[in-house]
């Protein structure tokens, strides 16, 4: 058989695949009649196929479906939510933006708690902050939910949120602001953010 051309074996496989041309088939048949080695090769190939094909049909175990259904991921709703999110990217972007915006704003929203900027020589009496006579406070003062009485001097800005500012002989070098309502407070916050932002470039 070693003397037989390789194309004879190729023809055998073409034949077994069922896509041999008539011409090749005739050549193959002619060769097989003369060559017992190739005949044997052909037989062995056919036997091999018959051997594999005699494999029994295998069926899945009885509870197979059940097992598959158990393994499926549960979250039908989550899938729906994901789909919706994918379809509406702009709404999602807007929602995310609003969320973070409101978070920062609400964080700073004046709640009922009293608070004051820490400065070394301020006197706090209940909800009233006093700058004592003769003292000089260096820096800004912000008072939330409380009153501010200035008897001494402030070398900086003064801001009072939800409270009263009282000064008789006060000396304040910076600006004085009183904020009572939400809108004003918002405006103040925005100005503050803008100022902080500008400060980055200075």
């Amino acid at each position: 058989m070693s003397t037989c051309p390789q194309y004879i074996v190729d023809y055998m496989h073409e034949y077994l695949d069922g896509d041999i041309s008539r011409e090749h088939e005739q050549q193959l048949k002619k060769h097989l009649q003369d060559c017992s080695d190739c005949q044997q090769h052909m037989h062995q190939l056919s036997d091999t196929i018959a051997f594999v094909k005699s494999a029994a049909h295998i069926t899945a175990p009885p509870n197979f479906e059940e097992q598959v259904m158990k393994r499926l991921p549960k979250p039908k709703q989550r899938l729906g939510v994901q789909k919706w999110l994918r379809r509406h990217p702009i709404i999602v972007a807007a929602a995310v933006f609003l969320f973070f915006m409101s978070a920062t704003l609400l964080n700073n929203y004046p709640n009922d708690e009293f608070s004051v900027t820490k400065q070394p020589n301020l006197v706090v009496d209940g909800q009233t902050v006093i700058v004592p006579e003769g003292e000089v406070v260096k820096g800004d003062i912000v008072v939330k939910n409380g009153d501010l009485v200035i008897e001494g001097e402030v070398d900086g800005n003064v801001t009072v949120i939800n409270g009263q500012y009282m000064a008789s002989t006060a000396v304040v070098t910076g600006q004085i602001e009183e904020i009572d309502e939400t809108f004003e407070w918002l405006w103040y916050e925005m100005k503050r953010m803008a100022n902080d932002f500008m400060a980055l470039f200075e």
């Binding site: 190729d10 496989h13 077994l16 695949d17 090769h41 062995q44 190939l45 036997d47 091999t48 196929i49 051997f51 594999v52 094909k53 005699s54 494999a55 029994a56 049909h57 295998i58 069926t59 899945a60 175990p61 197979f64 479906e65 097992q67 598959v68 259904m69 393994r71 499926l72 991921p73 039908k76 899938l79 729906g80």
Partner: protein, 187 residues
């Protein structure tokens, strides 16, 4: 059958998970058989066949409904089987000495387990023997031979499942047949 299948697929895509049961029912035996013939082990075959259905469920939105569903499903399962076979193979070093043996390394160990002695093979019953011979084929021939002669798919379908040109599929089937022929006649 195709009409029912398409209906079920649409239902699943709309979120009706239970509609998937019919899809599993329809293909469970074919897929399990494929995995069993590829892996030669019942537990692994069950695990991989189940995994194939789970993957099909998760990725159902990417299935192109103009094409044949079974081809797509077979492709998932075949890829999982081939991955599993490759992962299983080299988890030890061939040069490492086998503990408890005197100078025997993994090469001799493999030769001993891979090919059973002649008389043991001859005493196997036909079905065991078939599985044994299939499992001795290199995996690239094993997949085409199993798809062609066990699952009885056309060459065109096999080429789509394995995502390779028809010519390559033919070459592999030819070589697979020759390899099997040699295995069977070497005894």
């Amino acid at each position: 059958m195709d009409a029912l299948l398409n209906k079920r697929i649409k239902q699943v895509l709309k979120g009706d998970q239970n509609a998937f049961t019919d899809v599993v029912t329809l293909y469970q035996h074919k897929l399990y058989q494929l995995c069993y013939r590829m892996l030669g082990n019942k537990q692994e075959a069950e695990d991989i066949a189940q995994e194939a259905f789970v993957r099909a469920y998760i990725n159902l939105h990417s299935y192109d409904q103009k094409r044949k569903f079974s081809t797509w499903l077979y492709r998932i399962a075949t890829n999982l089987c081939i991955d599993r076979i490759r992962k299983k193979k080299p988890d030890y070093y061939l040069d490492a000495e086998v503990p408890g043996t005197d100078g025997l390394d993994m090469y001799s160990h493999i030769a001993a387990t891979d090919q059973l002695p002649e008389d043991a093979v001859e005493q196997m019953d036909l079905q065991d023997r078939i599985q044994y011979e299939i499992s001795r084929l290199p995996d690239k021939y094993r997949s085409v031979i199993v798809l062609k002669y066990i699952e009885e798919l056309s060459l065109q379908e096999i080429s789509e499942i394995l995502d390779m040109p028809l010519g390559t599929v033919k070459t592999r089937i030819h070589r697979g047949r020759e390899a099997l022929r040699k295995q069977l006649n070497n005894l």
